[in-house]
Symmetry: C2
Subunit: 388 residues, 2 copies
């Protein structure tokens, strides 16, 4: 019994096969011509990672490196790169959906050869997944295809509800008809088609439990929102999905996290990108995303602007958690990131380092879900009390 | 602008309010009559946790304890219990959906009183969430209401797809029309109504990434399955949902995990329940759940029965991971659990301890997704090669 492949996936496969074929054809031709086979790949090093303050995202610079077969220091990496490319290419042709863990297993084997002294030597293609992952990233930057475009899947935590219809695979899904559950975003969100949307903004909530509460209480319906959760540190699919909501539908994106350096970094990953994987940012980052809260001035107020705190002194005493050493260290690191060097963020981080206090979103629902839903969030949005 | 409450939730609230009111009314009456207020609560200790080998689940025994207000060692716990009950009761009346973290924050405050020497003393209602969680569990066993029945929400990782229609809230959801995404199960799965189902079994996959692959390749359609993932250690909602699929729809449930003690424990939690929270098992465990794999005999074969391994020697060399000390220790613990004392499980654990080898499901998709989907899973099911 054959299974009908989704027409969307068939198209995606055809595109990826074509790009891969094109990109590696040159190499094969070089070999046939008797020339030295080598690949020229953009560098993914930190020194080639640039913060573009105009576009507000992290980008790869123009540095490249050569990966050459005839260089002894390079030949292992060269072999790994071609091995990975061929595994992906075959998976595409065979209608497979490998994960990055699969790719590691598929390529993992022992090569036996004779060295120049005639001795038999054994060498593994790779030992750890971090080796195969690194090679996969090289292929992503070399082909300019994200792994999702090569139908490589991964686990996926993001969820969404809202008054919106999408097409995924061959189905049309009404995200306003999910009952008390939610729609779990697919690992390849570029293949989603937005059909129609009736919403004024996107609210991204770090915590799944808070998402559940706002969903259940009808937040998205009442305030015409698309409600998304990343369930902690966002994965690639959730980031890409949010970016598309912002870029293609023009919806403002507000991010709601705990008031601590971990929460602020989640915001930063949504907005700017991940520092070590800057090549993804151009596709995955949402430079226009706004930090809605919870901010330090929400907790303590701001004498400078006359802003009143959302918590009373008694509530602060009951709800605030003392920052740990790791939080302090993380906040000091954030202070030095280019994109946190705005007056608003520097103020936030200074208050944090001075008060050594953090707060969870749940402290706000602890005051009552209605407070979070009908006071805090709408007031912050309506008065423009977010941080860019 | 008012939000329409789901009619399902309104009914659930009414029921929980009634039970809570009934259970605590006696206490109030005692106080009004001038009698000593005390609660009689089933013990949740390990010594009162019994493995019922007939029903194949963990259960609470008949031991109870008294929580009395006029006993100095008890009065703090007594106060906490009534505080928690009143917070839940109010949340129900106010159409709230608290999380266990919220309940912690809502109750957390400082009580100031004069001790018998006239000194002012300060005492926190509770300091850590584990204190408030423990009190919540007491209320669960005292009222015989699971927290979900009191509309207490939590984060939720479980997902499902399959040829099945359900009602959740006021929506009807077709789980066969989720595109490449999936339906994220609600935190209160008892409120789901099964409308119709066209499936022959339930396959629960530990790993979300493997779920994504099987879903994308059309596994559930081809083999008439309801496909579920717990995305790691299963949460309560996923366990309850799977139990209902088995109990109410009569669908056999097969569990697919990594071949390691962590995976076997996931199976054990689905089937028997969680050791420290045995009072949940009566509702959340699926005693008929079957362990489909990956088993040690799948990897190494079984000379005794003539079973051939699913992996060649080369594949074993490439795919097997060496067990860590913690794995060995965990396996030794599992060997002593009553429900692992069957000949089949003892054999599995012995092979594991002898070979000190574990294997991930991804090693099977590493052999090709088609192998996992069209050979391994159907062959295991059709030949009855599971472990009870």
């Amino acid at each position: 019994m054959a299974v009908k492949m989704s027409s969307i996936d068939i198209k995606a496969r055809e595109k990826a096969v074509k790009v891969l074929h094109e990109k590696f054809r040159e190499l094969a031709e070089k070999i046939l011509r008797g020339e030295e086979p080598k690949l020229i790949i953009p560098k993914r090093t930190l020194s080639n990672t640039i913060y573009d303050s105009e576009r507000k995202i992290l980008l790869l610079g123009n540095d490249t490196f050569e990966r050459s077969f005839l260089d002894v220091r390079e030949s292992r990496k060269f072999m790994q790169t071609l091995l990975m490319a061929s595994i992906i290419y075959e998976a595409l042709l065979n209608n497979e959906y490998p994960t990055i863990r699969d790719l590691y297993y598929r390529g993992k084997h022992t090569i036996r050869y004779r060295d120049y002294k005639g001795r038999t030597v054994e060498e593994n293609t790779w030992d750890e997944q971090k080796e195969s992952d690194s090679v996969l990233r090289d292929i992503e930057v070399y082909t300019n295809l994200l792994r999702e475009e090569m139908l490589i899947l991964s686990k996926e935590k993001g969820k969404v509800v809202g008054d919106m219809r999408i097409r995924s695979g061959d189905d049309i899904i009404d995200l306003s008809k999910m009952g008390h559950g939610a729609y779990a975003i697919e690992p390849t969100p570029d293949l989603i088609e937005f059909i129609d949307v009736n919403a004024e903004f996107v609210l991204v909530v770090e915590k799944d439990a808070v998402f559940q509460q706002l969903h259940r209480a009808g937040f998205w319906r009442k305030y015409k929102a698309i409600l998304v959760t990343s369930a902690g540190q966002p994965d690639r699919a959730t980031r890409r999905f949010v970016r598309r909501l912002n870029e293609e539908l023009g919806l403002p994106v507000y991010i709601l996290t705990d008031a601590d350096p971990y929460g602020w970094y989640i915001y930063s990953v949504f907005k700017i990108g991940s520092i070590t994987l800057s090549y993804e940012s151009e596709r995955l980052a949402t430079p226009k995303a706004l930090f809605l809260g919870v901010s330090m001035t929400d907790i303590f107020g701001d004498k400078e602007t006359g802003k009143k705190p959302y918590l009373s002194e008694v509530e602060r005493r009951n709800f605030i958690i003392k920052a740990k050493k790791a939080d302090i260290k993380r906040a000091q690191e954030l202070m030095n990131y280019e994109w946190f060097k705005t007056p608003r963020w520097q103020k936030e981080l200074k208050i944090f380092l001075e008060k050594k206090s953090k707060l969870e979103i749940e402290a706000l629902t602890g005051k009552g879900l209605k407070f979070l839903m009908d006071t805090y969030i709408p007031q912050k949005i309506n008065s423009g009390d977010w941080i860019d």
